[in-house]
């Protein structure tokens, strides 16, 4: 599991949910300000990360993740070995 792989999964999910070109999403992209993602979008993203990588994210942790890069950091730091 590399940083690039996790990033591609997140971008693919967001692109599909929000009808955005994956190439237009980068590590600095902010979920709410740049993509206008709502709470349901973020909830389904968290589910996707949990299902794909086995990470468990509390509501408090989720609230601190505001960009694509931060989401990638979280997965890399918390995915089971």
């Amino acid at each position: 599991m590399t940083r690039e792989e996790v990033g591609e999964l997140i971008k693919g999910h967001l692109a599909d949910e929000l009808d955005v070109e994956p190439g237009a999403i980068g590590e600095q992209t902010r979920f709410k300000e740049d993509l206008e993602a709502d709470s349901l979008d973020l909830y389904t993203l968290v589910q996707e990360l949990e299902d794909s990588y086995g990470v468990r994210m509390t509501d408090e942790q989720a609230a601190t993740i505001t960009t694509v890069g931060q989401a990638v950091d979280f997965v890399l730091a918390h995915a089971p070995v």
Binding site: Q28, D34, L40
Partner: protein, 382 residues
Amino acid sequence: MTSQEAGTEGALGVAALREDADRSDTRADVVVAVDCNGADLGPAEVAAGAAIAAGEGVRMILFGPAQEFGQALRDAPDGAIEAVDAPVSIAKSPDPASAVRANPDSSIVQAARAVAEDRAQALVCAGGTGAALAAGLFNIKRARGIHRPALALVLPVPGRPVTLLDVGANAQARAEHLEQFAFMGVALAQTLLGVGRPRVGLLSNGEEAERGSPLVVEAHARLRERVAGGASGFELIGNVEGGDLVSGVADVIVTDGLTGNVALKTMEGVSQTLLRAIRDAAMSSTRAKLGGLLLTPALRGLREEIDPEGQGGAYLLGLRQLGVVPHGGFARRGFARAIMRAEQGVSEDLGGRTHAALARAGALRRAAPASARIASLPGNDA
């Protein structure tokens, strides 16, 4: 006569279903995924309903304990029904969202996945709104441009059915959600109920535009603006009160899921209590029984008209494909109706009509800003 007996033999059973099946020759080749678990009368009853629908030309994939489908598969035309053995049921789970994710082999998840993977084009779930909503959201996903899916129910009001939404998908809502619910309800009324230009009302505590919660007042203003643009396809009649749910002043009534669910359960409770009281009165004496016998022919027609099974159940709108959730207490006729309505909704492009109407009115959830703006942010690798 029980509902079960009326399912295939009753004159108004199959005949009414066949009438709906005689649609134009634009009927698409649609497959309906049916979760057979969770019904009160068991998977075999759902499968029996599927056999009825198959007899009217609908193709299906049934998900559930396959050993209980046997008779239905034998009754159905060859090739109309594919059976997938999926005995795990999460219909009664107290936490449907967790259950859906923890049980990927459950019948509802497999059925929803079949729709997500385009092996089927509509979902019918016999066993529980919560599981259907969770499985639909996680697998079929929200339709693009939609804020929130909604659960719509067609109230069987004599003479003019009324579509009420949301009846429980969203306990909390924002004005833009209600705005989109109006368009979803209109598309349903036009597609499945044949209402050309539906009259839409917002459920409130008074008819005046300024009455109601801030949510209702804002939703009213938004819808007024959309209708003023002339592209809405419906007539906004304004606020309606609780009593108007069954008065026929509106074809589509919009509200948040909490209010809609409370209204629905209130109506169900009142009607059950009334029916019980009428039945008790009719059995209270010999004269009353005779009077009941005299009334029976007249009441039979009314009973058919207000039978919830006739409407097929609740409609899950706003996902990428249509979902229909028949009441768990239905008999085979009701399940057949749900399956046929699901097929009809897809054939007549209920989802596409909704999207087009929202687009014309400028009410789609806005896509993200232009990619150029995102790409220009430092650190982005577009």
